[in-house]
């Protein structure tokens, strides 16, 4: 009897597996499914991952869609800006099937490719409309406040979203961004010419700046040096003056006997002036040679 129990359990498991395969289906994390009964879609999208019950074919049928975000990039295409500049742009779009029930009757077999062709058409008109409203300075600008590239992306996104909503395509756009931004080929050449002349200006500017700057620095340095020296001279004069002032205090000493003071000074001056390498011419009136005057007459010349 125990053996039979095992047999029954095994059989039950197998039957269950078979029943699971026949009467249920799974929706994976990345999917959304629509269940049709005799071809008529159910009211709800099955967009939560789980195990769902269904009657076997041909009563009910499951249509699965990838609900993950798809990447779509449109062709690099030309549009005129408001100030008549031809601009080349390409955008990338992250889009996904948000409502499979609406989505799959509109595109043959729920084809992603067909949907993307539709998206491309919408993008083309949205881009033309949005770019035509903006000047080139909205696309490139050193002032972050005037740069409107992000706003332009949002405008294109909103335009496409509005179209999708009115048409009820069951598609939603998660994000949209500029992938490429360029100029027509012939324009690039003129841009190069302009860039070249701008560079030439920069070259000569750098040359002049260097010389001017160097001269400025040097002359400033020289002026400062002159100032420093002039200050030093003034300081020197002041110091010497203070010396004289200090010495003047001692003058009181000499005032006790100005005659002696002057005599001493003269004597000192005499000593200093009649130093080496000088020639002294004197006659007998100069002391101490005055002694010669009183010598006997035989020394007298004729």
């Amino acid at each position: 009897m125990k053996k039979n129990l095992i047999t029954i359990v095994i059989a039950a498991v197998l039957v269950m597996i078979f029943a699971l395969l026949l009467f249920t289906f799974q929706v994976r994390q990345s999917e959304v499914a629509v269940l049709t009964t005799f071809g008529k879609p159910a009211a709800n999208n099955l967009d939560q991952p789980d195990l769902y019950f269904k009657w076997p074919w041909p009563i009910q049928q499951v249509y699965r869609f990838d609900k993950r975000t798809q990447n779509f990039e449109d062709k690099y295409s030309e549009n005129l800006t408001a100030d008549n500049t031809m601009l080349l742009t390409s955008v990338y779009v992250g889009w996904r099937i948000s409502n499979a029930k609406d989505f799959f009757p509109k595109f043959a077999g729920g084809s992603v490719e067909v949907a993307q062709r539709q998206l491309e058409t919408m993008l083309r008109s949205a881009k033309a409309a949005v770019i035509g409203k903006h000047n080139l300075s909205d696309f490139v600008n050193p002032d972050p406040k005037q740069l409107k590239l992000e706003a332009i992306e949002d405008e294109i996104k909103t335009a496409v979203q509005n179209q999708l909503a009115t048409q009820n395509y069951g598609i939603s756009i998660d994000f949209l961004g500029v992938k490429k931004l360029g100029l027509p080929e012939s324009v690039t050449q003129t841009v190069f010419d302009r860039m070249k002349s701008e560079r030439q200006v920069l070259i000569s500017e750098a040359q002049f700046q260097g010389e001017a700057e160097a001269t400025k620095i040097k002359s400033a340095a020289e002026r400062q040096a002159a100032d420093v020296l002039a200050n030093a001279q003034a300081e020197a004069t002041r110091i010497e003056g203070s010396g004289v002032a200090e010495a003047a205090k001692t003058l009181a000493v000499f005032q006790q006997n100005p005659e002696l003071a002057i005599f001493q000074l003269q004597l000192e001056a005499l000593k200093n002036s009649l130093n080496q390498k000088s020639t002294l011419i004197f006659d007998e009136r100069t002391p101490p040679f005055s002694l010669f005057q009183n010598l006997p007459a035989n020394t007298q010349t004729k």
Binding site: Q29, T69, N71, Y76, G94, D174, V178, Q276, F289
Partner: protein
């Protein structure tokens, strides 16, 4: 039915039951064994139970090794090629080149213009055209989002191609948007780091806003001037370097002049200082001498003067080089004295010229 017949039938049934039981048991074993799967080093696996990924955040990803899952209708194992660090490079902004050329360090010849279909570039804020490219390293922060929210075009396959594509486009957008607000000189020379930061910041911002489930680790940006204008851009760099050199030379000259002037000023004031000291001490010593001599002088001024003069004359006569004594003429008339100021060196006497 005879007993023998029914017994044979029972025997046959029993034996066939045994076979069926064995087969069923074998089937169970097979089903159980089929639940084992291995994960390689360059991939991760996720178990979907009734379509729902098992485990939260990083625990969702099963690493290398042996794992077990329930059989198919319940569990499904999906494998994702994944490495620790993901890398992706921008696809816009650079001129057409090949990996071979990159390795060799060469570049394709530059035409007079850029073909928008082939050559990538970005337009800067000051409407210059330059080439720039970026490489982004990132890691998967939220596997559920990164794996299950982004498709790569092929239906029902799971890998990171979808999210990698989204990151790549985020980098492309970041390059174009950042270039649109930076001037050419900032991107190429003056503020390379600033531009890189702007791109990096924008990529992270987009990754967050577009909910890519990735975290940006690093963004490296490389920017160059168009090949067509390489020379003239290099000339600007050279001119700027020359300018800097001129300025630096001038600055060192400035230092030299300043320190020279400082030294000279110091020597002037020092000289004045010592002159003052000398002067003051000289006067003071004179004063001292004066004070000492005063009593002597006052006792007999004339004698004192005569003595002092005589003393001085002794010293003077010792020091003086030439002494010429010129006595008075007998008749008392003044003598005429000729002074030859330009003293000639004494000439040797010869026989011809006595």
């Amino acid at each position: 039915m005879s007993d023998a017949g029914s017994q044979a039938l029972a025997e046959a049934l029993r034996s066939s039951f045994v076979i069926v039981k064995l087969a069923l048991a074998a089937l169970l074993v097979v089903i159980f064994a089929a639940g084992f799967f291995t994960v390689g080093p360059q991939e991760k696996a996720v178990i979907l139970r009734f379509g729902k990924p098992q485990g939260e955040a990083q625990k969702m990803l099963l690493g290398a090794g042996l794992h077990w899952s329930l059989p198919y209708p319940i569990d499904e194992v999906i494998r994702i090629p994944i490495t620790e660090i993901q890398k992706v490079s921008s696809t816009v902004g650079w001129y057409l080149t090949s990996p071979e050329m990159e390795l060799a360090g060469t570049e394709p010849p530059a035409g007079p213009s850029l073909n928008p279909q082939i050559d990538g570039y970005v337009v800067t804020a000051d409407r210059n055209i330059i080439h720039t490219r970026a490489t982004v390293s990132y890691h998967i922060d939220d596997p559920r989002t990164a794996i299950f929210n982004f498709a790569n075009g092929t239906n029902q396959q799971f890998n990171l191609a979808g999210v990698s594509n989204a990151v790549q486009n985020a980098v492309n957008e970041a390059l174009i948007l950042s270039a649109a607000r930076f001037n050419v000189d900032d991107i190429i020379t003056r503020d390379i780091a600033g531009f890189q930061d702007a791109v990096s910041q924008r990529v992270s911002e987009l990754a967050e806003r577009e909910q890519l489930g990735v975290a940006i680790d690093q963004v490296q940006v490389q920017s160059v001037a168009p090949r067509q204008l390489k020379d003239v851009f290099a000339m600007v760099t050279t001119a700027r370097q020359n300018r800097d050199k001129l300025v630096n030379d001038a600055l060192s000259e400035q230092n030299r002049i300043a320190s020279q002037a400082g030294a000279l000023a110091a020597s002037i004031t020092n000289a004045a200082e010592s002159a003052r000291t000398r002067y003051v001490t000289a006067i003071e010593s004179d004063a001292m001498a004066f004070t000492e001599l005063l009593p002597k002088y006052e006792s007999n001024p004339n004698l004192f003067a005569q003595l002092e003069l005589a003393k001085a004359m002794t010293q003077i006569l010792t020091n003086v080089q030439d002494k010429i004594f010129l006595p008075q003429r007998a008749d008392g008339k003044p003598r005429e004295l000729r002074l030859q100021l330009n003293r000639e060196p004494p000439q040797p006497k010869s026989a011809a010229n006595p």
